[in-house]
Symmetry: C2
Amino acid sequence: MRLTKISDIRKRELRRAAFEVLQREGMAGATLEKVAAQAGASKGIVLHYFANKQQLFEHAMREANAVLKDAVVRRLNRANTPFERLEAIIEGNFEDRFFQPSICHAWLSLCAEVPRDPQLARIQKVIHARMRSNLLSALIHFLPEEECETVVLGITALIDGLWLRLGLQSEGLTREDALRQMRDYLSHRLPSGAA
Amino acid sequence: MRLTKISDIRKRELRRAAFEVLQREGMAGATLEKVAAQAGASKGIVLHYFANKQQLFEHAMREANAVLKDAVVRRLNRANTPFERLEAIIEGNFEDRFFQPSICHAWLSLCAEVPRDPQLARIQKVIHARMRSNLLSALIHFLPEEECETVVLGITALIDGLWLRLGLQSEGLTREDALRQMRDYLSHRLPSGAA
DNA sequence: CATTTTACTGTCCCATAGGTCAATTATTGA
DNA sequence: TCAATAATTGACCTATGGGACAGTAAAATG
């Protein structure tokens, strides 16, 4: 058996191309032809590897999410204390190479389709469940159980909100601003000795 | 002069129809024909009142935003103390009739277009500037000036994040959850005697 | 009442997008 | 080496969408 099947390579190339086109063009403007061009291939090949446009973008979202997940996991593995785990989750979500307007634009376009694509909704659900479970396992060391729920929602909403702001006003919000905001939240919301 | 010009009525009907179609179909699926059908008119009329599709949706966003603004302003007028003004802003952003998945879906679709439509970006900028100024004028009574900036970002990001969550997981986040979250933030972030 | 302006419709046109398919070119494995 | 399988292309089809337009109905205005 070949080490890496060519179909896997192509699929990944096409997923990535799809994501890049999405950054520039949004969902409406992201045509199969443009995706093919971005990948340096013909339109036919896209539909050879993906059943249809929807499926292509579902896979694009899965991949984008997987990359983010890996970043968080890598940081989690290096974390030793509950607080470090919290930091790992948060900083993973604001890594330099992700926290960029164009990436956020693509992400937004995908999110906007969630209500009409059950598959995207499923992916979204998985993402959120993982985030929640990661946060809970760290927060439980600092807060009583019911307060944890509140803070989980607070952290996730803050992260999402900061990302959205990045997408809507490309300039004027740096990674550092975002991280500072998250730390500000934690320092006020967690018990004083937590850090 | 006529009391209400028919053109104003039509334009408003079409803006609203556009917004409703956006809720159901997203930007890609929102065609002029569907908007016309939703308004009970013919496609031609849409382009009679709006130069093109883009402009139609720009006006739809303006109107949606105006409605939200009015809700906040009405509450602000009834507020007497700085803290009540804070509450007004926050509660205005989570009024029952707005804080609904379908509305959020339309909003998301519009936001996803912001990077490619300077006009939408401008509207977005105005919205944000108003929010910021409203919040600052209230927060300045509780916090030193530089901390105000931080909390403004915190509040806006939280609001956006909670809205996004509503759009992505229609069930499982009520208006009350959202308000509780905001109050939780304020109670921890503002000086203890603030409320 | 006549004319000009405004409201509105339906048809037409062109471009393009998604998707199918047959044909062509590697790859592979026996 | 040769059949079989996979990769890839490009032509094609169909539907549809945005927009232009000509023409009709309805108001407004003088």
